[in-house]
């Protein structure tokens, strides 16, 4: 019987909506709120407090045995990140308790605490200690970190001169060498190029094989299936399902497909604290009409309505398209085509259209994941994370095999025939 590594019992976290609003609360507003609350209490003593609070996590219980790798899936805002925040002690629970045995390392964001003016070498030490290592431990792992990140030549260059790829590699390398007994990872693998992502997954696999315990939050269902034998699905702050990843991921994807109403798009609540925010995302056809189901011969456009409140330097977006079985079909960065149109986008309302040409994606269901970030953003890399925010269905009506065509692409290949010239007799 393996020993437990994580025991979570009835863990709950409630946010006061007033508290969340208080991002820029001033003293005057605080006094005003207090007086108002007092006045309300006098007038209506038994006021239901539900309408002012939000349970980000509600009565979640599960155990993780030592050496287990457990995936956590769920919609955006379902409470996955809150769970990791509670387990990494960034914030305290409102109810319940959790016990973690062994040293905890948490990786909620790649590159937190990196200082652009410091060199790679200096940042390795600083970031290592921020993540909970001692200087001696960083020194021991220093060479391994530099090797993994492949930045040897730039060790003494300030990281503000790094390319975003180098930056991410270095940041992940430091975190990957933390070697905690319990590792909490939140969606950090969604960064970097594909080969680096697979390297990161490989590193996490190594960590898992060493008998360490990992909790892994991701929207990448293929990664979850590959890495985690077991998964936990959280929805609306509650634990929905806990079991083998195959079953949990299928159930989760089925559920999101059936949610119909979110179907081809999503609308987001305004959050004035974000300098850049996606307000609405929808899948539209070539005439700009919302269209949850399309034909392989039509272009598919992911249309994003966004607000810029303050220009963000270095802002870029990336979009990933997943098939319903969890495989990422395509990833597109806003700078792929050359200049990045999102960098320091001026204040105002904008519409961003990302279009898939006709006859590229094969028939079937797809989900779109969206994220916007900047390594130059002062509030951390992620500027706005709409996450998995829309889906669409493609069907192939032109070809004879139609939706029975096998393969992942719907491209029509020409079969050219030419008269083969007879080779001259030797």
């Amino acid at each position: 019987m393996p020993q437990p590594a994580i025991q979570v019992e009835g863990l709950s976290k409630r946010y006061r909506l007033g508290g969340m609003r208080s991002i820029d609360q001033t003293l005057r507003e605080a006094i005003h709120d207090k007086v108002e609350a007092l006045w309300r209490k006098v007038r209506k003593p038994a006021r239901d407090e539900n309408d002012q609070t939000l349970w980000a996590l509600r009565d979640v219980s599960f155990d993780v045995a030592e050496g287990e790798v457990v995936g956590i899936v769920g919609r955006n805002g379902a409470g996955k990140s809150t769970l990791l925040k509670l387990l990494s002690r960034i914030t305290d629970p409102t109810q319940g308790q959790a016990t973690i045995f062994g040293r905890v390392g948490s990786l909620l964001e790649v590159g937190t605490g990196f200082h652009p003016e410091l060199t790679g070498r200096e940042n390795i030490y600083l970031n290592g200690t921020i993540l909970g290592m001692t200087r001696a431990e960083v020194r021991d792992k220093f060479d391994a970190i530099v090797d993994f990140a492949e930045i040897e030549r730039f060790l003494d260059t300030p990281v503000k001169r790094y390319s975003s790829g180098m930056f991410v590699r270095l940041a992940f390398a430091v975190a990957a060498h933390l070697e905690p007994e319990v590792l909490l990872v939140d969606e950090v693998l969604a960064v970097g190029d594909a080969s680096f992502q697979s390297k990161c997954l490989g590193k996490m696999g190594d960590v898992a094989r060493d008998g360490r315990t990992i909790l892994f939050v991701s929207h990448n269902m293929a990664a979850i299936r590959q890495m985690c034998p077991r998964s936990v699905w959280i929805d609306d702050g509650r634990l929905c399902m806990d079991g083998p990843s195959e079953q949990v991921v299928d159930a989760y994807l089925n559920h999101t497909m059936r949610r119909g109403e979110a179907g081809h798009g999503a609308v987001f609540e305004t959050d004035p604290s974000k300098p850049f925010q996606v307000k609405q995302v929808e899948v539209v056809d070539e005439h700009g009409r919302p269209a949850p189901t399309l034909n392989c011969d039509q272009p598919v456009t992911v249309s994003i309505h966004a607000t810029v409140r303050r220009p963000v330097h270095g802002l870029y977006g990336y979009l990933q398209v997943f098939r319903n079985d969890g495989h990422c079909v395509l990833e597109s960065d806003s700078f792929d085509a050359g200049a990045n149109p999102l960098d320091a986008l001026p204040v105002g309302e904008h519409r961003l259209d990302v279009t898939f040409p006709p006859r590229v994606l094969g028939h079937g269901g797809y989900q779109v994941y969206l994220n916007f970030g900047s390594s130059m953003n002062d509030g951390g890399f992620d500027v706005d994370t709409p996450g998995v925010c829309c889906q669409f269905q493609l069907s192939d009506t032109r070809t004879a095999r139609g939706d029975g065509r096998r393969g992942v692409l719907s491209t029509i290949l020409p079969w050219r025939v030419a008269q083969a010239t007879q080779a001259k007799a030797a």
Partner: protein, 299 residues
């Protein structure tokens, strides 16, 4: 409130410490629950994260003069130029220099200005330290006290540089040090106690109330005149001196100056100011430790 019920559940845990050795395998167990770890654990955590504290202070030092032409010379220039300006206006034009007594006014001024600038710079740096690192607060666990305390590093180094300049000035103006110089480290520690108290309290308050950002420069400016920097405390009537010495910087800065110039030290005034400073420090740190678990939610 709903959280009461949960609190009673958390009490079931026999050990009050957040980190206990599990009976099973001597692995360290971290217990996460509503009211968090005990204050002593949080202070102990500060010790475990001492490397982070040092590296953050070193970072501030390395970053501050990046892309400047004069670099670290600013640490020498700032107090020196301030001293010259104050000397001309207060010493000469307003005639304060004549009421100072034995020591040359520039030396007198500078001896008070050095610890004052330590206080002013440290208060400004610490009070913004948490809000400036909001990203860290939201994404990583570490004892939050690390941030304001690490912010003291750079002002302390500036103070050391200013002190070297001070001894140069003393040689220039022919002011000899006496045995009282031995009291200087104690006086500086009493200044630091007040600085920690003030800085930690303001840092925590800034997380909740951004007003504090606007209050700090104003507060520092006002305290400058309520602290005997440009004038000696003896300029005030004896029966009212205690009032100004309730300001934790008043008696301590006078003590710093007395230790350097070898002039008589008002031990009662020093004691009073230090007591107020120590109270501020204890109350401030105790409040900070209680409040820090909410910082990530509200910053």
């Amino acid at each position: 409130m709903r959280s009461r019920r949960s609190a009673s559940r958390a009490v079931d845990l026999s050990a009050d410490a957040s980190q206990v050795l599990s009976a099973a395998g001597a692995r360290r167990a971290t217990v996460i629950r509503p009211r968090g770890a005990s204050p002593w654990d949080r202070l102990f955590d500060l010790f475990r994260y001492r490397d982070l504290l040092i590296l953050l202070a070193v970072r501030d030092l390395k970053v501050r003069y990046k892309q400047t032409v004069l670099g670290a010379a600013w640490a020498v220039l700032q107090p020196l130029v301030t001293m010259v300006v104050l000397h001309v206006f207060f010493g000469q034009v307003l005639g304060v220099a004549e009421r100072v007594g034995s020591a040359a006014y520039p030396v007198f001024l500078y001896a008070g200005l050095a610890p004052w600038m330590l206080f002013a710079a440290a208060t400004t740096a610490t009070s913004g330290s948490l809000v400036n690192e909001a990203g860290l607060l939201r994404k990583v666990y570490f004892p939050r006290l690390v941030l304001p305390i690490a912010a003291l590093g750079a002002p302390l180094v500036d103070y050391l540089i200013a002190s070297v300049v001070l001894f140069g000035l003393m040689a220039w103006f022919g002011v000899a040090a006496t045995w009282q110089v031995a009291l200087l480290p104690i006086a500086v520690v009493s200044v630091l106690i007040a600085v920690v108290g003030m800085g930690v309290t303001l840092a925590g308050l800034t997380v909740r109330f951004r007003d504090v950002r606007h209050v700090v420069p104003f507060l520092v400016q006002t305290l400058f005149f309520l602290t005997p920097v440009i004038y000696p405390v003896t300029i005030l009537p004896t029966q009212w001196r205690w009032l100004i010495q309730l300001n934790p910087m008043a008696g301590t800065i006078e003590a710093c100056r007395g230790a350097i110039l070898g002039t008589p030290i008002d031990y009662a005034g020093w004691g009073l100011s230090t007591t107020v400073g120590a109270l501020l420090c204890v109350v401030g740190v105790a409040w900070f430790i209680r409040a820090e678990r909410r910082f990530a939610d509200i910053v």
